[in-house]
Amino acid sequence: MMKSKKKSIWVFGDYRNYYQNRVTLQLLSKAVDLAQTIKAEVCALVFGHEIDEWIMEYTAHGADRILAIDDPALKSYSTEKYLAIIENLAKERDPEIILIGATDFGREFAPRLAKRLKTGLSADCVGLDITDDGLLLQIAPSFGGNMLAEIVTELHRPQMVTVRPGTFKEIPHNYTRKALVERLPLMKKLPKSRVRLIEYERSVEKEHTIENASVIVCGGRGMGNRDKFKKLHDLARLLGGDVGATRPVVYSGWADHGALVGQAGKHIKPKILFSFGISGAIQHTAGLGEADFIIAINKNPQATMMKMADVAIIADASDVLKTLIKELKKRIRE
């Protein structure tokens, strides 16, 4: 098999949720950027069955080379199989950098791959760059995004990161681009998966987990009572988002524990966060470090939540919620 002499930046092709999540295309774009600085090629990995669509798509979005394995045995995602395949390829070809989308799959798979390759990994990066000494600068959030860390992998290769969807902008597609497509056979000694997939279905009741939701409607005790709180779901549904809750609300039984946002619960990173009747105790705001745009609604203008908001609406939370739902129903065009 041929070994490319040029440095290579690999991008793992994560296509399972292509229509909701274009993280692979975003990574290709960043890879193109990084490749210019360190003079490398951009190589996309595509494993699966009947994958020509993705080969075409990744070529159009910046890949110089595609390593593709098309086999019925790879019809569904498998951590163990993918691990064996990439471990094999990486040991053979020594990539300089591997970028993996911080999907749930990516975040489970990447740490194991890093361990197999005896290299470092930064999780959930929100920024990438090249340092003066030519290393991949990995900017990763901690403490609910309230802090950022600059991390490097000095001595070991490849330098690996997972990158949060939405961090980078994809390059507009160009279907006239050409890439070198290497169609590889499935490795002979593919390990048998020890984890058996008994059932899987695309979830209908929920489009995403609250950690990944781009719109979140959070409510606190200021909503008044359970029935008024339940109305937050109407708004969330209209906006295609999720409902989050503060601790007192969860413990009053107005919301499930899974909706708990903050120190003892989920850390969220929505593009838009509505915060209804929440005073903003640090136990809650600890989970909001990466909320992009915050609208807080509260009778009390002094509430911490109101001060950390982009838009602070001084009014009764429940009244505003009702009106907002009514008004949005009129205005939203599907």
Partner: protein
Amino acid sequence: MLNLVVCLKQVPMVTELPWDAKTGTLRRDLAAGMMNPACKHALEAALQIKEKFSAHITVITMGPPAAEEVLREALALGADRAILICDKLLAGADTYATSLVLTAAIKKECPKFDLILCGAYTADSETAQVGPQLAEELDLPAAAYVEKLEIHGRTLRVRRMVDNFRETLEMEFPALVTVSMENYRPRYTELMGLENAFGGDGVIVLGAAALGINASLFKNKGSRTKVRKVFLRKTQKENVILQGTASAVVTEFLNKYQRKISTAIGKSIEGKLNDEE
């Protein structure tokens, strides 16, 4: 008898995070600690298994001497045995090194484990890496972000939700799971349990040497990543204030931000509507 191992981490309590205002860094040494919330869910999952089957729970943490506190808490909640891995040599370990050390401790102290449970992620660094890397080190079948566990003989069946897919997976013991925070709401600590947790046999403390780890080995096999800088994220907020009747503020809000909301929700929203509509 099922042999369960739960890996715990002590994380700083956000209510008491002492920031160094000048450098924008966290004085971790001063922060009060608590059991990482997801780890608490993992422990709860183990406790519920113990309520159904005959099981023995070992809890392990790696950290400074003060991390003993989370082990005592685990004992108070119903764990049977506690191990603290504590050594200056191990300070600042990344997930790669941490999983290596935990593996050594598990192999030494609980070689006959059936199931290892970890929290899906930690509230401080949030890497979600130690669990999967531990599975690699110990060469185990594993599943992350598990919401529900069932045990049938030597078979573990788990349910989880990953990337919009609801999955049911099965694997044989020994295995490893990382537990999400969807289920297994942690129980409250009984006061009697707390009192008992400080009597009895206490906590087993292991240094690096006891695990066969020395400085030169750790240099080669230890951390792969290096943190060059940590800083507070500063965000500039506009803090626009809207005030008035509900309908007035909603109209003003939507008129002003309709484009922003449209982009976020991927649907278009009409701008100004006539009041008659």
